[in-house]
């Protein structure tokens, strides 16, 4: 069998070595096509090149070529013909039975004017470093663009070249991907102590070459004069070859592969930094090695899969220890900071302080090993103890309670795992742990991982895909029905998890009315009856009131409808009115009245845009600076009916006093003297979070365009039931990544995002009006199929504070008597 490998970087090399070691029968004859003229070398330790290491010292392939492997250096692959199963290079054609893409990444160079000026370098290959060293000879100063992992490595390189070194980082602190702001500040002070200048919250806006070196303009910062400029602001997967060959690629770049590392063509695998597993690329070498091992196993008939690796890291950057493990922040954070000695440690704990969720160590990472192992268990002793390089025993005891709701111990969970429960749902079903409040689910997952059980991102037993992958599948393959999807890509007949997810994806992609044809069967009861089910089986009705602005006439209609149908009436938190206690068979009659008065569905029942709240704004308020109501109405009408992974809430405040509470919303807008500030990722609810500032002082057109893109990007890439707050927190690169994609168009997606939103706006129709006009859909709104007008006899009401409420409801706490 003929195997062609494109790329001989660290992962490509690991792959051919692992295959040679395991393919003892000589099943595969391997050809490697390498772009560089050099065999694989250790890219992680590149700055060692300036400490005296030679290219030979860094090579990873010192001892010739494994038997049966033909390596073609300096012969880049130009095209893949998948139909003919041939890879073309300038020199010839290489037929394959199986192709492995290990094309790696290219450096990301921000699109600033002057970036090609003499003295500007990338930081990726030994050739880059050789050119940098030659240029730097006899020069005095160097600047690195990028204050992450790679940027600080590059800063070390410049320092070793004897240059006076500066670092410019776009985010507010160093290593934004790994560290929190105080950790980043501590690292900064350690690095500044080495004589390196650090500029954070600063973007390079232009580079001009003069006789005396480079002049670098920055946003908000000084103009920097430097002899050498190194771009080390991250990498992007090299997926162009795969793209040209028609292979599926991920939303954010990278060759789309499943957990077996197979691309959309079963004869083609992708590994390392070019591979997007479940749509996610990994920029570290350890996951790449794990991918190489999985493909080797698969090629030899094994069944290995790649499970998302532990993102914990421990590094020494410019001589400073930095380590992160688990999650960087928890409900409860214990922080130890010692500026005198440049030490910072933070442990993220569960809200009862019993469980270690993760942490950050800067300055001394001696406790990394034991702490990382303790994630998911209790913290033994004081945090201060962990700043010394001890290794206390931190194993969670067997009788420790994992699930306090159902009193399930660690031993019970591990016994279930030993009995064959190999995923979280199985452990939940067997032990009931995690079935109540769900807060221990991450701990169960970590116990599973600790027991050596691979975790899956599959949404349920019927699909081995995450929501984002399902979205890509449905969108790219143009799949229009659940039946077609489950027949080709799933098993069984679906469930209450995957069916509503698929229904939502189809709705986001504009597949007509949500109750059309087979789609009706996919909907959760709320979407199925276009109303919100309540504890007694009745429904509540919420007409849309855009921006919370309503005429007296319409208000009277709502009152009359509520009175005539005996509905309990309450004002909602989103500035509209909720009518409770409607029986299924009453819904059409209620809506006929509402639609006749000009109301539309408020989508309170959907994972969709709910409301855009507003304060009264400059029209009336003596403090208001912009028309917040007008904008709120326009936005609510623009995004009404937009289906998403979870509900979407918004608000517009007319001045900085923020009466609309916009920063608690998925997207919130606050008026300024000059325009609008846009905040994203806010949340009330279970885990409150203030929204982050994405844009400031923009005009309405820019604002709306950015919100359009924000929403479509969220809809395409978030997990099931993931609000924007946790989606942004989970984005690789967080808010900066989001800004790069939807403001700077770093992935070239914006035209597509804009078009998707334009399609949504153009195809909007009121769901309730459409039901009233369709006899087939109307027929479903009956109490009993054989007695359509007979009310469910189990439903009954009593009166409380002059309104009807369910007769059967929980006993409430004793409340003080209120005279009214």
């Amino acid at each position: 069998m003929r195997l062609v490998v494109i790329g001989n970087g660290m992962v490509g090399q690991r792959f051919i070595e692992a295959l040679a070691a395991r393919d003892t029968g000589g099943r595969w004859s391997v050809t490697v096509l390498a772009e560089e003229r050099r065999r694989a070398y250790d890219r992680v330790r590149l700055s060692a090149y300036f400490e005296g290491a030679t290219a030979d010292d860094l090579t990873l392939a010192p001892s010739g070529v494994p038997a049966g492997v033909d390596i073609r250096l300096g012969e880049p692959a130009l095209a893949v013909d998948r139909a003919a199963r041939v890879v073309r290079t300038e020199a010839g054609e290489y037929p394959y039975d199986v192709l492995v893409l290990a094309t790696g990444s290219r450096p990301f160079v921000p699109p600033v004017p002057g970036r090609d000026a003499p003295g500007c370098f990338a930081y990726r290959t030994l050739d880059d470093l050789a050119a940098l060293r030659a240029y730097a000879r006899g020069r005095a100063s160097g600047t690195v663009v990028g204050g992450g992992l790679l940027g600080l490595e590059a800063a070390n390189a410049l320092r070793l070249l004897g240059l006076r070194t500066s670092v410019v980082e776009f985010a507010a602190h160093l290593m934004p991907m790994q560290l929190d702001p105080p950790g980043g500040a501590m690292l900064r002070s350690r690095i500044e102590a080495l004589g390196i200048a650090v500029h954070t919250g600063t973007a390079v806006t232009a580079i001009a070459a003069g006789d005396d070196g480079l002049h670098v303009d920055t946003s908000g910062g000084p103009t920097l004069d430097t002899d050498v400029l190194v771009f080390a602001a991250g990498v992007r997967p090299r997926d162009d070859l795969a793209r040209a060959a028609g292979l599926a690629t991920a939303e954010r770049g990278g060759v789309l592969v499943d957990a077996t590392l197979r691309t959309s063509d079963p004869a083609v695998f992708a590994i390392g930094e070019c591979a997007a597993v479940d749509g996610r690329c990994y920029g570290l070498v350890a996951p790449g090695y794990a991918m190489a091992d999985v493909v080797v196993d698969r090629l030899l008939g094994g069944g290995a899969t790649f499970s998302g690796p532990d993102a914990s890291t421990k590094l020494k950057l410019l001589g400073v220890d930095v380590a992160t493990f688990g999650q960087a922040t928890g409900p409860l954070d214990v922080v130890y900071a010692d500026p005198a000695n440049g030490l910072y440690a933070k442990l993220a704990l569960s809200d009862d302080a019993r469980t270690l969720l993760g942490g950050i160590l800067v300055g001394d990472a001696g406790a990394y090993g034991p702490l990382r192992a303790a994630v998911g268990g209790p913290v033994p002793g004081k945090l201060a103890d962990f700043l010394s390089a001890g290794a206390p025993d931190v194993a969670l005891p067997g009788n420790a309670q994992v699930c306090s709701c159902n009193n399930v111990t660690k031993d019970a969970v591990l016994a279930a795992v030993a009995d064959g429960c190999h995923d979280v749902p199985a452990v939940k079903a067997c032990t009931r742990a995690g079935t109540t409040c769900g807060s221990c689910v991450p701990l169960i997952a970590s116990l599973l991982a600790g027991a050596g059980v691979a975790q899956t991102r599959a949404i349920c037993e019927h699909f081995a895909f995450s929501r984002q992958e399902l979205f890509d599948l449905i969108r790219v393959r143009g799949i229009g029905t659940f039946s077609a999807l489950v027949a080709e890509h799933g098993t069984g007949r679906g469930c209450d998890i995957c069916k509503p997810v698929v229904a939502s994806i189809l709705a986001s992609l504009g597949h007509g009315h949500i109750l059309d044809g087979e789609q009706a069967a996919l909907q959760d009861t709320n979407d199925h009856f276009l109303a919100n089910i309540q504890r007694d089986g009745t429904y509540s009705v919420v007409p849309r009131i855009p921006g919370g602005e309503i005429t007296p006439d319409k208000l009277i209609v709502i009152g009359e409808v509520a009175r005539d149908f005996s509905l309990y009436t309450k004002i909602t938190g989103g500035q509209r009115i909720d009518l409770f206690g409607a029986r299924v068979e009453q819904l059409p009659a209620i809506w006929r009245r509402l639609v006749a008065a000009g109301f539309e569905s408020g989508h309170a029942y959907g994972k969709a845009l709910r409301t855009v709240k507003s304060c009264v704004g400059s029209t009336w308020c003596r403090y208001g600076v912009q028309d917040s109501v007008g904008l709120a109405v326009a936005l609510e009408l623009r995004y009404r009916g937009l289906r998403a992974p979870h509900k979407i809430k918004s608000a517009v405040s007319g001045c900085a006093r923020e009466c609309a509470e916009a920063r608690s919303k998925d997207f919130g807008i606050i008026a300024t003297d000059n325009g609008w500030n846009l905040y994203v990722g806010g949340n009330g609810g279970f885990r409150p979070r203030h929204a982050d500032l994405l844009l400031s002082d923009v005009d309405t057109e820019t604002l709306v365009r950015t919100v359009d893109r924000f929403l479509v990007y969220y809809i395409r890439t978030a997990d099931r039931l993931q609000r924007t707050a946790s989606w942004i927190e989970g984005l690789d690169g967080g808010l900066d990544h989001l800004r790069a994609v939807i403001v700077d168009d770093s992935l070239g997606l914006c035209a597509d995002l804009d078009a998707a939103m334009a399609r949504h706006i153009g195809s909007y129709t009121d769901e309730w009006r459409a039901v009233l006009e369709d006899p087939v859909k109307l027929r479903r709104f009956v109490s009993f199929v054989n007695a359509p007008a007979t009310p469910d006899p189990s439903i009954s009401f009593v009166r409380e504070r002059d309104q009807p409420v369910p007769a059967r409801r929980p006993v409430s706490l004793g409340l003080p008597e209120v005279r009214r």
């Binding site: 019927h462 007949r493 679906g494 209450d496 959760d524 009993f784 469910d792």
Partner: protein, 113 residues
């Protein structure tokens, strides 16, 4: 000795065409509320409509699917799954009655158990 002959009383409730595949309807069979489901292959199942966890009569409005190849409906209230063949709840200790159901001349009939 008296021979006891079990007789099932069949109540016609609707036409098969009235049922959406993989969805349910509620029907009144005598005084009992029954949830009738049409599976994707046109097999029919009928169980009690009362969700034993919430006490509300809503099981006919749940999402129909499979769990490990058994046909199930998920309660629309709190998502517990009920085996449509046996009435057993697969998530908590609960059970709902199962009713015989058949199609005659295109008409769906539910039997009294």
């Amino acid at each position: 000795m008296t021979a006891v002959v079990a007789t099932v009383l069949w109540t016609p409730v609707c036409r098969l065409d009235d049922l959406l595949p993989e969805r349910g309807v509620a029907a009144l069979v005598g005084a009992q509320q029954v949830a009738v489901f049409r599976l994707h292959d046109d097999r029919l199942r009928a169980i009690g409509n009362r969700d034993p966890v919430s006490g509300a009569y809503v099981l006919s409005r749940g999402v129909v699917g499979t769990r490990a190849d058994r046909p199930v409906v998920a309660s629309p209230m709190h998502k517990q799954a009920y085996d449509l063949d046996t009435g057993a709840c697969l998530d908590v200790d609960a059970r709902v009655p199962v009713f015989p159901v058949r199609v005659r001349d295109g008409v769906v009939e539910v039997g009294s158990p």
